[in-house]
Amino acid sequence: MEKQPIIVVENLVKKFGNFVANDNLTFRVKKGEIFGFLGANGAGKTTAIKILCGLSSPTSGKVTVAGFDVYRETNKIKQNIGYMSQKFSLYENLTVKENIRFYAGIYGLNKKVIDERMEELLSGLNIQELKNTLIASLPLGWKQKLAFSIAIFHKPKIVFLDEPTGGVDPIARRQFWDMIYDAARNGITVFVTTHYMDEAEYCDRVSIMVDGRIEALDTPAALKKAFAAENMDGVFLKLARKKSN
């Protein structure tokens, strides 16, 4: 039996006036999957993510996230997802502890749970001694790991990562992907966009968007085979070229 889908998108269309940002998208993301969401800038990735996160309503189509409808149940969706962007989104003039408390607080966790999980988190990252350090003085790699840990602190069903590794060195990126795998192993579905094609290889399945449409969707291995490419970079280039011809 195939695992239950946690994100269901059927014929999603999003228009801004005459401009069609998302043109009839249909895909499913399975529970616990690491789903890569690729595409050039302006291909419509951000629009789709906003819809999935409940920030914007589709023009038409059926979309459910974690079992909730994006038209009517955005509040329930928000409670069940985590989000992290390229900017890492931590408050620079708050300490590590205060950031954790703040973000956990807005998801409605009580103080006891927060303190327990915080200890877990800090010892997991091995940064207990940095608890009272201001975020501003942490190196980028640490900020990124911390931002991810905070994004899944409330144990969401799905975590959306919008280009989470931008500007970080390769070693830190590798470590970051280890954290992603851990999260997926714990049953959290990971929905990730990225610019780095080598990262696409780490995903269970990858969708590639071109001009508002999903042009390819499969496992990295299957895609490479179908496009007769050595790596994901090749797949991406061939798709883009096919489109422009």
């Binding site: 996160c53 920030l55 914007s56 997802i81 989104s89 003039n93 807005i106 998801y107």
Partner: protein, 368 residues
Amino acid sequence: MHRFLGFVKKEFFHIFRDGRTMLVLFGIPVVQLLIFGYVVTNEIKDIKIAIFDQSKDEVTIEISNKIISSGYFKLEKNLDNISNIEEIFREGYVKEVIVFEPDFARKFEREGIAAIQILADASDANTANLIVNYTNAIIMDYVKKVNGSNQMPMKIEPEVRMIYNEGMKGVYMFVPGTMALILMLVSAMMTSISIAREKEMGTMEVLLVSPLKPFQIVTGKVIPYVVFAFINAVTIIVIGHFVFGMPIKGSVLFLLAESFLFISMALSLGILISTMAKSQQVAMFISVFVLMLPTLLLSGFIFPIENMPVILQWLSYIMPPKYFIIIIKNIMLKGTGIAFVWKETLILFGMMLFFIAVSVKKFKIRLE
């Protein structure tokens, strides 16, 4: 509620940890008030005056001497022709001319009333007002002494004319003006910057994706500034009253309520600005050029609205501080209640609703 309180707490952390924010919030208001207070309404000393005495009797000479020996004034010239007055003002160094009517002593003693005309160069409005007040006080002091033993009180009627600036009003302009300026600064500028900062740092995205409602996010950001702006309003009123002797004739409660209304209006304006500005710099820029300069220049704070070109007068009608200044002056100086300022109050309230409505609309469009 629990989530919301955590949010407000975070906002206070931001403010207390940022030295610059603290400075803007608490340092600048006091410094500004003191600067405006002491620089704008400076003590006067050795102001050059001219006297046109058409009577030259014992009373006019005594009054002249009293004025000149006060230390505030220095006699530059005795005029003997009315046409010299304009000329001497044009030259610029004489700031005040005192004119005694002919037959001064006789009128004063027989009819019990005599007239003095005080003309002041009001191109420097505040100084003009001050020196006229000082002159008046000296004359009144003389009258009081003369009347001390008399049964029939005698009167001197000073007629004041502000040359170049007829409509100038209120030496206490600076307290309401500074208050409007500072509340505008703290409320509108600081909120717009702090919301723009969240956008710049990317934390706004995370907040929007969280279960917090946009309404809660905005209110949470605004509440600390309401508190601080209110503290500032009280500070200014206290300093204005006890340091500069600004009277508070009306109800203090009403005064605070109107301040609160103005703060809310300024905050909604700040929110509107933040919906337009993507970065802190842009928010700052808009605040300074759209809020601060017009507040200073067009609200009647420094330059009297009556003397502006018609177009600028029209423009002043859309300046919120103008109405606040009118309200504050009415309450503090005249002791009037809502009956006299309901129109201005309503305008401020309307402006607030307008800014909120536009912000909500803009906010929705941006989310799409």
